[in-house]
Subunit: 316 residues, 2 copies
């Protein structure tokens, strides 16, 4: 046991170093711009260009299913947040927005705390918005009611926030996902999830990323979370596309394809044309993580990437 | 006086109606998607496409000055926020991010409050990030030190947050700006501000928006803010490009070109090559507001916009 334990420790140390080393390489190459907060970076123009081009590739692939296109901002309705169990399951990842709602005298009091370097944030009040934890969440409340015959397919892209400060450049606190959501019958949702398991793999391989598909779970919080992780795995609801970025032992998920059963349908009152509670599924491409995987696999200068990868991405 | 007062009241009512009417038109046309929170919307695909195309037009115009391209996310370092006087000048607009940092027992206590519909947000702790109030703010701390000979020009685009719930569709709580920032000598900063006053006007007119340029001020908070507004106007630091959207009496700012003097240079220790404190200026294009002005001016269907406007925007 002890040997195994030591080996794990060494492995953890090696991996931590690998994360920091890659992050520092990215910063030196001006691909990422540090902000002084772990996991929060500016993006250099070359990094951003790779994201734009991969995003366009994914859009073209999704256009085959003629989706509605919608874009939701990085914040969403607190009342909707309170309906989706995120506070139960992932409280440590949440971002709650607070602002100052007082008048001149309350302002003076808050500034007094600020000047004395006390905690002035207690003088704020919660705004009616939260950070968007997953970019498909804001969609579901807007879909309340009865779906058209055949259900709906939606193309989404936007920022998600997760409070998990880390030196792993792939574990950003704010990052973009491109998602395709299916709302409809259980069969339609499951077909979507499975279609994208294959199509996603094809897309990643077309840019030289040899992803593997693995059964996965969400990072449920606390002691109770262990049970939920096991149940989610047992039901084979979530698959991730993983590829080594900083570690071959612990490859990074750069996409996932998930079946939500009727979770969102029942919470937000979404029904199929024949009156049943709608089921949903979504595939998500983690744009920053894909870029990080591309730079790791092909090198920090896209000008010297393999020509076939440059062609697929339409890099010019 | 009374008559004037009544007239103003009528005008205010009319304008409020005009805002709500236009917002409802946009929602019916699926250009904006309501979220249940005032000033927070999803964007439909057609709305987003207009933004993408105008954004590209602005990028091409800015490319003439060969800027560095950087992209900062919607959140930024709280420590930097605390250096820029925003808490003094615009506390009512801020977005402070809070999250849950406790363990299982604190989680249970917070969930108790949540279930009893009490204010659970008091159990959160401030995260090390704030919402980005203006998309050039995150740039300045990264520019600390000595600028290269000739200073710097930077192309930025991203989301800004301002907590000002409103029924005016042009007063969103979260929106994108495309900005070009100049860091250098006072002469270089002022030349940039003035160059963009003309170039910005040209760009707007090329898409059929007859903007006017007006001296403007930022919305400084409270009683003390009145003096600061007057000083800012007197110094002619800020110009806005305004155009009627819902009201001809109160046209909407869809862009601005600003000279910051040495404000950011002195706060973040940015110096010119010869050792003086750097001055800065920036021009900003409000992408959602530009789209709203285009839809108001040319109609809700871009397919029927004037051909010259469609050509300039490369709408296809």
């Amino acid at each position: 046991m002890c040997v195994v334990h030591n080996t794990h420790q060494d492995l953890a140390l090696e991996t931590a170093d690998a994360y920091t080393l890659y992050r520092d390489e990215l910063v030196r190459a001006k691909l990422l711009i540090p902000s002084g907060v772990r996991g929060v970076y500016g993006r250099g123009g070359v990094f951003e260009d790779v994201i734009t081009k991969f995003d366009a590739l994914v859009s073209r692939a999704g256009a085959e299913m003629k989706p509605e296109v919608m874009r939701f901002p990085p914040i969403f309705n607190r009342a909707h947040y309170e309906q989706i169990d995120h506070i139960h399951n992932f409280p440590d990842l949440m971002g709650s927005l607070h602002t100052f709602m007082g008048g001149d005298s309350e302002h003076k009091a808050m500034l007094g705390k600020f000047e004395r370097k006390e905690d002035w944030s207690r003088d704020l009040a919660p705004a009616r918005v939260m950070m968007t934890p997953a970019i498909c969440y804001p969609l579901y409340p807007t879909a309340a009611g009865t779906l058209p015959e055949g259900g709906r397919r939606v193309d989404l892209q936007g920022f998600a926030f997760r409070h998990e400060p880390s030196d792993d450049p792939a574990r950003m606190q704010i990052f973009r996902m491109h998602e395709f959501v299916r709302l409809g019958t259980p069969g339609q949702a499951l077909e979507h999830r499975n279609y994208w398991l294959d199509r996603g793999q094809e897309i990643f391989r077309s840019v030289g990323l040899n992803t593997e598909r693995v059964v996965a779970n969400d990072p449920f919080f606390g002691r109770g979370g262990k049970v939920q992780k096991a149940i989610q795995r047992e039901q084979n609801l979530k698959y991730e596309f993983v590829v080594p970025i900083c570690s071959t032992e612990k490859p990074t998920a750069i996409g996932s394809s998930n079946y939500h059963l009727d979770h969102f349908g029942s919470v937000f009152g979404i029904r199929t044309a024949d009156g049943a509670v709608a089921h949903s599924a979504c595939v998500g491409f983690g744009l920053e993580r894909v870029a990080l995987a591309l730079f790791k696999t092909h090198g920090l200068d896209p000008g010297s990437w393999p020509q076939n990868v440059r062609d697929v991405l339409a890099l010019d």
